[in-house]
Amino acid sequence: MTATAEKQVTAQRDASKPITMVAAINEALDQALERNPDVYIFGEDVGIMGGVFRATDGLQARYGEERVFDTPLAEAGIMGMAIGMGLAGLKPVAEMQFAGFIYPALDQIMSHLGRYRHRTRSRFSLPVVVRAPYGGGVHTPEQHADSPEAILAHVPGIKVVIPSNPQDAKGLLLAAIEDPDPVMFFESIKMYRSLKQEVDLGYYIIPLGQARIHREGTDLTLICYGGMVEICDKAAEAAAQAGISAEIIDLRTISPLDTDTLLESVRKTGRAVIVTEAPRTAGFHSEIAAVIAEEAVDSLLAPVVRVTGFDAPYPPFTAIEDKYRPTPTRVAKAMRQVMDY
């Protein structure tokens, strides 16, 4: 983290344009390919099709089939190959078509990706980046809306990054690509196109492991990442009307977790609500709650509350899907709960 922070490049702050998150990711990949000849992009349908979400759109045309290529349909193969390429000194940036299809690759991830540096005492490192669309909110078929970030964050040796907006997505992805260690980069499917934001045109990085204060407030802290930032924003906006001042911490990286920023906020407000769309039991939200309990219990004016999905597979049932993902209403209720305690 500090290594990348030192290398931080100042972006051309004056030059920016409003783009979506998927366009920002495309731009980051483009700049990474251009800047570093060791960067290779591959996965299922990333070539001529430009990815099912168009994140790699146009890259094969620009950089050729050597550097941007379709692989056979096999996630363990993609991941294993990325590991081998990383061992040999390249910078593989692999795409998993959906986070819900990472599971065949979990053996490679858990047995190798996370522990290679450790088991070779840094003789080999794996500068691998894996991008994967995750989460619900857009009526995908079965298994396309999973949020498996906690599984990955639980693997030692792997960083897990989850941007919530275009500007962050670009800078975080470029930081992930610069990082000497494996990074899982989860991209909220809902956020891909749901908002446009001014994004710096130039090359810039946002250091991994640094949370962001998305909104300042004094009464309570909403802790979230990825697709839930938008939801928390709406809830905070509504609460503001009612005179409640919510601070929103967008974690941006869940592993490593920026405990300083989140604890500082919780100590200031005395109340914490953690919001994720992953299933409830053993989710990453539980880790955050534990950190608060361990480090900031004295500051708490109310118990920590988690707003999450349920302990059931994400429902592909169009009519009721929206009842699974936390809504601003559900977040608002949790906010009242900590306020009224």
Binding site: P37, D38, E44, D45, G47, I48, M49, G50, V52, D70, P72, L73, A74, E75, A76, G77, A88, G89, L90, G100, F101, Y103, P104, H139, T140, P141, E142, Q143, H144, R280, T281, F310, D311, A312, P313, P315, P316, F317, T318, A319, I320, E321, K323, Y324, T329, R330, K333
Partner: protein
């Protein structure tokens, strides 16, 4: 790939003598693809709808006319579904649907060899196979409408829900087949996969297990040319996917996947072999995905239109139709009656699907365990409360 590095011989080892190094350079590494023998593709009926003149055994190889007609009916029935599903999608009455139009022979011809005592493991592309096997239309409509009613699998069938993750069904089919064997039945399991899916590790583990354990399994590999935007040639250097069976010691058969009479015949034989304890078979049905990956996919991004041309002429429905009409097995009138019947059946099923109640939010947490955990009970109560129930 990029930088050159100096080679350091490991741990004081001798460098290879130049002669040996040279010998290694012109080693056995010939381009594999060219060396692969062309595997003949079994075909009974030509695309024009005539008996394949090269068919060994000629007409005696064909199923009897009654069966031919019955197979035609199966194809028409599932084609109707596929076509209507598109219309319903455009009307907002169907969710994202993966069409199988053009692959009717491959789906109906294979599944027609099963009874409902046998297991069927279809993928998302295999609605046609499931319908042929006996899954009610109403059920499949509900499934593709993203309604939980599509998830209640009929008790009298041994069909699994459509597999969304690729290839995972292969080892599972081996398990089901093996269980039938251990229980002493003669039931078999049939599992589907695509050409893309045959790249996944699970495909290979499944075939290997089936061979090693002599499981009564029939593996259908529908080679429809594409895995979303990726052509089979990008998927693998192997030219004939059926030959992958060789590596696992099981028979691999390559059949014209648009010729239902041939597909049915090899499927029936494979099912028979499995029933008789002779083990698994891999059948590659060579076909084509005429339509996009799903109704929401833009096929023009990756497939030039010329590539689709010519496949219409290979249309499995058209092919058998021409043959049956020429033989007099089918007439314009009997066909009209058949289509009318199919139409009515479909409309009734859709009406039945229309009348299925909307799911309630609490259904999100139902059916996670036989007995809901305390956590789930609490979460159910939360959902009820949040939704004013």
């Amino acid at each position: 790939m990029s930088k050159t590095t100096t080679q350091t011989p490991a741990g004081g080892a001798e460098q290879m003598p130049p002669a040996a190094a040279e010998a290694m350079n012109k080693s056995v590494l010939q381009p594999q693809a060219e060396g692969q023998p062309e595997v003949p593709m079994l075909q009974f009926i030509t695309p024009e709808g005539t008996l394949n003149p090269d068919l060994e055994g000629g007409e005696s190889r064909l199923p009897d006319p009654e069966t031919q007609l019955w197979l035609y009916r199966q194809m028409r029935r599932i084609r109707h579904f596929d076509e209507r599903a598109w219309v319903l999608y455009r009307q907002g009455k169907m969710g994202v649907f993966p069409p199988y139009g053009g692959m009717e022979a491959s789906q109906a011809g294979t599944t027609a060899a099963l009874t409902t005592e046998d297991w069927l493991f279809p993928t998302y592309r295999d609605t046609g196979a499931a319908l042929t096997y006996g899954l009610p239309i109403k059920q499949t409509v509900a499934y593709w409408r993203s309604s939980p009613h599509g998830w209640y699998m009929p008790e009298n069938l041994k069909v699994t829900p459509f597999y969304i993750p690729i290839a995972t069904q292969y080892p599972q089919a081996v398990g089901a087949a093996l269980a039938e064997k251990k229980k002493g039945t003669r039931n078999v399991a049939m599992a589907f996969i695509g050409d893309g899916g045959s790249s996944e590790g699970d495909f290979h583990e499944g075939l290997n297990f089936a061979g090693a354990l002599n499981a009564p399994c029939v593996f259908i590999l529908q080679n429809n040319g594409w895995a979303i935007s990726v052509p089979t040639t990008t998927q693998t250097k192997a030219q004939n996917l059926s030959r992958r069976a060789d590596g696992y010691g099981i028979p691999g058969i390559r059949v014209d996947g648009n010729d239902i009479l041939a597909v049915y015949s090899v499927s029936r034989d494979a099912v028979e072999r499995a029933r008789n304890g002779e083990g698994p078979t891999l059948i590659e049905t060579v076909t084509f995905r005429i339509k996009p990956h799903t109704v929401a996919d833009d096929v023009t991004r990756y497939r030039p239109e010329e590539m689709t041309a010519g496949w219409d002429e290979k249309d499995p429905v058209r092919r058998l139709r021409a043959y049956l009409l020429a033989q007099g097995t089918l007439t314009e009138e009997s066909e009209a009656a058949l289509l009318e019947e199919i139409h009515t059946e479909f409309e009734e099923a859709v009406a039945a699907a229309d009348s299925l109640p909307d799911p309630t939010p609490a259904e999100i947490v139902d059916h996670v365990f036989a007995e809901p955990t305390p956590q789930l009970k609490k979460q159910r109560a939360q959902i009820m409360e949040e939704n004013g129930a």
